[in-house]
């Protein structure tokens, strides 16, 4: 099997599953229980938070564990909307957000909030000037996806953060789900107030994530209840998953030290090979894109057909994002970049992880070329 759909989800590391099992068996007590077992569970939870904070280079109290990217984005966006509604009701985001952000904004619009959706250029990138122009006195939030999940395009979050540093009343949320471990981001330096990451994109278990909330930001919690996670996310902590996730964080970040350069090589190789193929256009920009996502249009072939043809050979790639690939419309992200509808429908996404090897990529490329010519011949 050659798995190249890592932006949809990744395969958990065996060590991560070991941790899950051990914690579920031995630390099953509720961390809020007063007895010794509860105390041990709480101590482990504290350790998880400390390790996560250390890895992210932030403070322990700035981390809440969530169920993943969707919850992180919703908590950040709605939490600011509700928590700061006295301050203003205007928010700025982009036309290329993940549905977990876009749909949250649409809900807020229905509640009377005013949302500006910034246009992107041909490469899927917003301009800092556009952000500047869209800012108003009542703008309470700017929310931007760091690495686009379909194209891999990196948004200029550091520059936006710098711009917003002079506007303490406008908070800055970054959806870092795709970028985390692949495209380094220093939350403090980039002036980020809220940042969402997800566990299952980095070989952790499903249902885990972190929302970074900078000290001093007052969110209105989405989940009210027993006051867990500093009162911002009630519900008995999912300790086995949290511990497994934090382990995956450590392992993946260790791999990233040499892995990012290796990924970069692999994606350059894929790009070069695909560009040589007749009727294939690479949509992911050459510069300013993450090293693990490559989006390409295979002209004249429905993406779905091509995906299934590759899967017969044990190779797994995807069409647009998994979160919207079941809808039959063309990708909203590609359309927003001005890619024609036909070409958008024929786009496939290849997404790598630190686990992929050069040998796998060569085999994938050979198979890709062979299947492409077979399918084209069959159609003629």
């Amino acid at each position: 099997m050659i798995y190249l759909d890592n932006s949809a989800t990744t395969k958990p590391y065996p060590e991560v599953l070991d941790t899950y099992k051990t914690v579920a068996e031995e630390y099953f007590a509720n961390p809020s229980s007063l007895h010794k077992l509860g105390g041990r569970a709480e101590a482990l939870l504290n350790k998880c938070r400390a390790q996560a904070a250390r890895l992210l280079n932030v403070k322990e109290q700035e981390i809440i564990f969530t169920s993943g990217g969707t919850e992180g984005n919703n908590t950040a966006i709605k939490g600011v909307a509700f928590g700061y509604r006295q301050r203003g009701k205007h928010m700025i985001t982009t036309k290329v957000e993940h549905p977990a952000s876009r749909a949250a904004f649409e809900q807020l619009e229905a509640l009377g909030y005013d949302v500006t959706y910034l246009d992107v250029d041909r490469e899927g990138r917003i301009s800092v000037d556009d952000v500047k122009r869209a800012l108003r006195d009542d703008t309470i939030l700017v929310s931007v996806i760091h690495v686009n999940n379909e194209l891999g395009t990196i948004q200029p979050v550091e520059e936006i953060g710098n711009l917003l540093k002079e506007r303490p009343k406008t908070l800055f949320h970054v959806d870092h789900v795709q970028g985390f471990t692949k495209v380094p981001l220093d939350f403090y330096e980039a002036g980020i107030d809220l940042c969402t990451i997800s566990g299952h994109k980095i070989h952790g278990p499903r249902g885990t994530g972190i929302l970074f909330i900078r000290e001093g930001v007052q969110l209105s919690p989405l989940l009210a209840g027993g006051g867990q996670e500093h009162g911002l996310r009630s519900g008995t902590e999912n300790l086995p998953a949290i511990a497994a996730f934090v382990r995956a964080m450590r392992m993946t970040m260790e791999r990233a030290r040499t892995g990012i350069a290796a990924l970069d090589k692999l994606s350059k190789r894929i790009r070069q090979a695909l560009e040589e193929l007749p009727g294939v256009t690479v949509n992911t920009p050459k510069q300013g894109a993450a090293p693990h996502i490559l989006n390409a249009t295979v002209h004249g072939l429905r993406a779905e057909v091509f995906i299934h043809a590759l899967e017969e050979e044990g190779i797994y790639i995807s069409t647009k994002s998994a979160c919207s690939s079941k809808e039959s419309e063309a990708s909203a992200v590609l359309l927003a970049c001005g890619i024609p509808e036909e070409a958008a429908r024929q786009a496939v996404r290849i997404s790598l992880s630190f686990e992929n090897t050069p040998e796998e990529i060569e085999r994938f490329l050979q198979t890709f070329a062979r299947k492409l010519s077979e399918l084209k011949n069959a159609m003629e």
């Binding site: 941790t19 051990t22 010794k36 105390g39 482990l44 504290n46 350790k47 109290q61």
Partner: protein, 400 residues
């Protein structure tokens, strides 16, 4: 931009006379210890500073680790060039542009030092030549020799030049292990970890003693102290934590003494036990986080009465500090959030609402006649559990 090197300057060690070698060797050892897991990073110690070759490691991350090694006064990140003027000019420009990517820089100055006196161009002239090159290749940047946003230091060495830009403030003090051993009474509150930190900063090796009274104090209170000791371990190497079973002594005090003297006698018991542990462990002094007048046990009368039971020096590094200042340090050293976890420790058990603020020795001695002191001290010492914070393998760590 990547720096090649870090240069660590000594603080007070540089002022030492004959003992200097002992201090600097110890510091060298501490620095190496902190970098043990980075095999590519090389550490050298010429006479009056430590040089670290990063060999590709991230300078910010390495500096962050070394900032907290006591004895290091400041850290500079540097690149190396050969002695060719053009190379040095290009190096200085590179440093400036690299720093500019990081923070706004409007003014700079070049400070050249020729350690290699044979180098033909005088330092002042080098300043001008290198500064002019930087000015020619940048826009909107000026020279300010008094208060520059960035000072670029150029050191002309035997056969290379070292050009440094970024600096990091470090903890200062003296290397841990240079001042002998202290036994710290670690309560779980805000003050005692700060006291431990201050003593470590003066070179003391700190062991900690904690009084635990199950079931009145919980496992969480115990864990809190372990977590605090772990923070101290980060700053000061291996820390041994001695956990004393104190329930029996506290119950005896509750049952046989007048309420108003319970706190005073409890403290005297603690010091007696601590003194025994100090003797066993070779500690030459006890230490507490007391600050004059902060609570009833910390009035001069209380300290006078409590201190009577030991001959060891009781070091009180926070004695003249305000609570807010202590809290500020606790936050800086990252112990504050642990200290404020809301678990009761033994100090607040069975205490009167109004403990005596002006006890005296005479009364204390008289009341203690009702107490089997030696037996209680012996039982407590015998029941001590010692945790080697630096070494103990936590089963939880293996999971993460």
């Amino acid at each position: 931009m990547r720096y090649d090197q870090l240069v660590l300057s000594f603080g007070e060690i540089a002022l030492k006379g004959k003992n200097r070698q002992m201090f600097s060797d110890l510091l060298f050892h501490r620095v190496r210890e902190r970098l043990r897991d980075l095999p590519n990073v090389k550490v050298r110690m010429p006479y009056d500073h430590i040089e670290i070759d990063l060999n590709g490691a991230n300078g910010d991350e390495v500096a962050e680790r070394l900032r907290h090694v006591f004895g290091v006064q400041s850290i500079r990140a540097a690149i190396e060039t050969n002695l060719d003027l053009q190379e040095m000019q290009a190096g200085a420009l590179k440093v400036l542009l690299g720093e500019q990517a990081n923070r706004p820089i409007r003014t700079f100055k070049i400070s050249t030092k020729r350690k290699n006196k044979k180098y033909p161009t005088p330092s002042n002239e080098l300043n001008h030549l290198i500064g002019a090159h930087v000015l020619r290749n940048t826009e909107g940047i000026k020279v300010d020799v008094h208060h520059p946003d960035l000072e670029i230091k150029v050191e002309v060495l035997e056969n290379r030049a070292r050009i440094s830009g970024r600096t990091y403030e470090a903890a200062g003090g003296l290397p841990v292990g240079s001042a002998g051993k202290v036994l710290l009474l670690l309560s779980g509150g805000i003050d005692s970890p700060v006291a431990g930190y201050q003593l470590m900063r003066r070179g003391a090796t700190v062991e900690a003693i904690h009084f635990h009274s199950p079931p009145y104090t919980s496992d969480r209170a115990r864990q809190k102290v372990i977590d605090l000791a772990e923070k101290l371990h980060f700053y000061g190497g291996d820390v041994k934590l001695h956990i004393v079973p104190f329930t029996e002594a506290q119950l005896a005090i509750r049952d046989s003494l007048p309420e108003s003297y319970r706190m005073t006698i409890m403290r005297r018991m603690m010091l007696r036990i601590a003194e025994r542990v100090a003797e066993q462990r070779g500690a030459l002094a006890l230490a507490t986080g007391e600050s004059l007048g902060q609570v009833a046990s910390q009035t001069l009368e209380s300290m006078n009465t409590i201190n009577e039971v030991t001959n060891l020096p009781v070091l009180r590094p926070l004695i003249a500090m305000d609570k807010v200042d202590i809290m500020t340090i606790a936050k800086e050293i990252d112990t504050y959030d642990i200290s404020i976890r809301p678990y009761e420790d033994c100090c607040t058990l069975f205490l009167p609402r109004a403990p005596k603020t002006k006890p005296n020795r005479e009364h204390a001695n008289r009341f203690e006649k009702n107490l089997p002191i030696d037996a209680l001290v012996q039982a407590a010492v015998d029941g001590i559990e010692t945790i080697d914070i630096g070494r103990h393998e936590d089963s939880m760590d293996a999971l993460l």
